[in-house]
Amino acid sequence: MEKDLLESLLSELRRGTLILCVLSQLGEARYGYALVQILGEKGISIDANTLYPLLRRLEKQGLLCSEWNTEETKPRKYYKRTVFGDQIFAELVKQWNDLSTGMNDLLGGN
């Protein structure tokens, strides 16, 4: 029970940061699974069944654009930040830095 609660609190904590994680890696075009791997290597685990729908949503919101690459053996959909996505990303990073400074203060004070 305690473990379940911790799990759900953790996933709630991570959820908000996922968009920033994803946007950060899409300055250059990448396909979904490559992103899962890159984030995984950096210790951010994201399930494909969360990431793929998220990518589509961000594209719908105009933050990402996509293109199918059919030259390789498998057809893959590559995502990349749009100009608008760049602006939003920069703004989010700024907010994140402020937030983490504040958080560190709070947690360090304990």
Binding site: G32, Y33, Q37, A48, P53, R56, Q61, L63, K74
Partner: protein, 358 residues
């Protein structure tokens, strides 16, 4: 089942649950994802699919929709209207049960002694009470739910909310997120003269519910009951019950439109644009319904006046008697004119009060 089959089945289970225009793309996307995961992680297809999880859950994330029929914005009002509708159903159930019990519409009542009469009365009463309560509850809950589900689906703004409520969608419109709610965005308190009294709406909703339930379940109640002593000899219904299957749906649809209008009024609570538009649209639709019912469908029982004459034993109604116009065009025209006037007054009030006070 081989691996290829398993993949195809999984993809099908996901894509059948997402909008059609995205199905093909999602299918391709999943195909390469599953293959990538197999090769890169060196695990079997079964393990990959296990990892991806329930396809229904996956599809839900793709749809990204709210997983509810009636969301928190409407839930309170929804419960409220359901409660009011229950009052209406309770009233109509009791009315129709009492009448059913006394009049013995089915003609199966044993009136030879008081004990038999009471036993029969209560059997009929209870049977009718339960039947009307159950039927009425099912249909009312259904209708009210449909109305609110449509409001939710179309995101009709019926409640009082600040004009600029921030949503994620605005990310795509503005570079920086708009400051959300500020005290300045509080809407003005509606003018007292524009307020729609809750009591009025509640009364209308109860009335419509009672009327619709009775019309749908026991239309024969609207008629003249002819008694010979204690036994019911005949009922002359004002409506054309032979054609009722054709008439009732349109009649109930018209009442349903009234109900939509009243719910919007109740939820909003004051005259404003949504109320005005709903009033214009609903009243127009009601007028169309009334014209079709009265002009194109055999709405009235043509024998009603005749039967009354027979029962009363008179050969001719006096000149001023409304029954002497029964079944004539003039009768329907008068009624339509009356309905038109009421509708115009109601729409006029909505337009006037919206323009003037809100």
């Amino acid at each position: 089942m081989n691996e290829k089959d398993m993949i195809a089945r999984y993809i099908y289970e996901v894509t059948k649950r997402v909008p059609q225009e995205t199905q093909q793309e999602i299918s391709l996307e999943l195909q390469s994802l599953i293959e990538d995961m197999c090769t890169e992680e060196g695990i079997s297809v079964e393990e990959v699919l296990q990892k991806l999880g329930d396809p229904a859950e996956f599809a839900k994330r793709y749809r990204g929709d709210n997983n509810y029929l009636i969301g928190p914005d409407y839930y309170d009002n929804y419960l409220w209207v359901i409660k009011i509708a229950f009052i209406g159903i309770a009233i109509s159930a009791v009315i129709s049960a009492i009448i059913q019990g006394i009049t013995d519409i089915n003609g199966s009542m044993d009136t030879s002694s008081w004990i038999n009469f009471f036993t029969n009365f209560f059997t009929n009463f209870l049977a009718e009470l339960f039947a009307t309560a159950i039927n009425g509850t099912c249909s009312m809950v259904g209708i009210v739910t449909i109305i609110f589900a449509v409001l939710e689906w179309k995101k009709v703004k019926v409640s009082i909310k600040p004009e600029s409520k921030w949503t994620v969608d605005e990310l795509s419109k503005n570079v920086t997120p708009v400051k959300s709610w500020t005290p300045n965005s509080l809407p003005p308190i509606p003018d007292k003269r524009a307020v729609i009294r809750r009591g009025d709406s509640v009364f209308s909703i109860i009335f419509i519910t009672v009327f619709a339930t009775l019309l749908l379940l026991v239309p024969q109640l609207f008629g003249a009951f002819h008694y010979d002593g204690n036994t019911l000899k005949s009922i002359a219904c004002v409506f054309n019950l032979k054609e009722w299957d054709r008439i009732a749906p349109l009649l109930v649809l018209t009442l349903f439109i009234c109900l939509v209008d009243e719910i919007i009024k109740l939820v909003t609570g004051y005259y404003c644009k949504p109320v005005m538009y709903s009033s214009i649209i609903c009243n127009s639709l009601q007028l169309i319904g009334a014209v079709i019912l009265l002009k194109f469908l055999p709405f009235w029982n043509p024998d009603f006046a005749g039967t009354l004459q027979e029962i009363a034993g008179i050969t001719q109604f006096s000149d001023g008697d409304i029954l002497s116009y029964w079944g004539t065009e003039a009768f329907n025209n008068m009624l339509l004119a009356f309905i038109f006037i009421i509708s115009f007054l109601e729409t006029g009030e909505a337009i006037y009060k919206t323009r003037k006070y809100s």
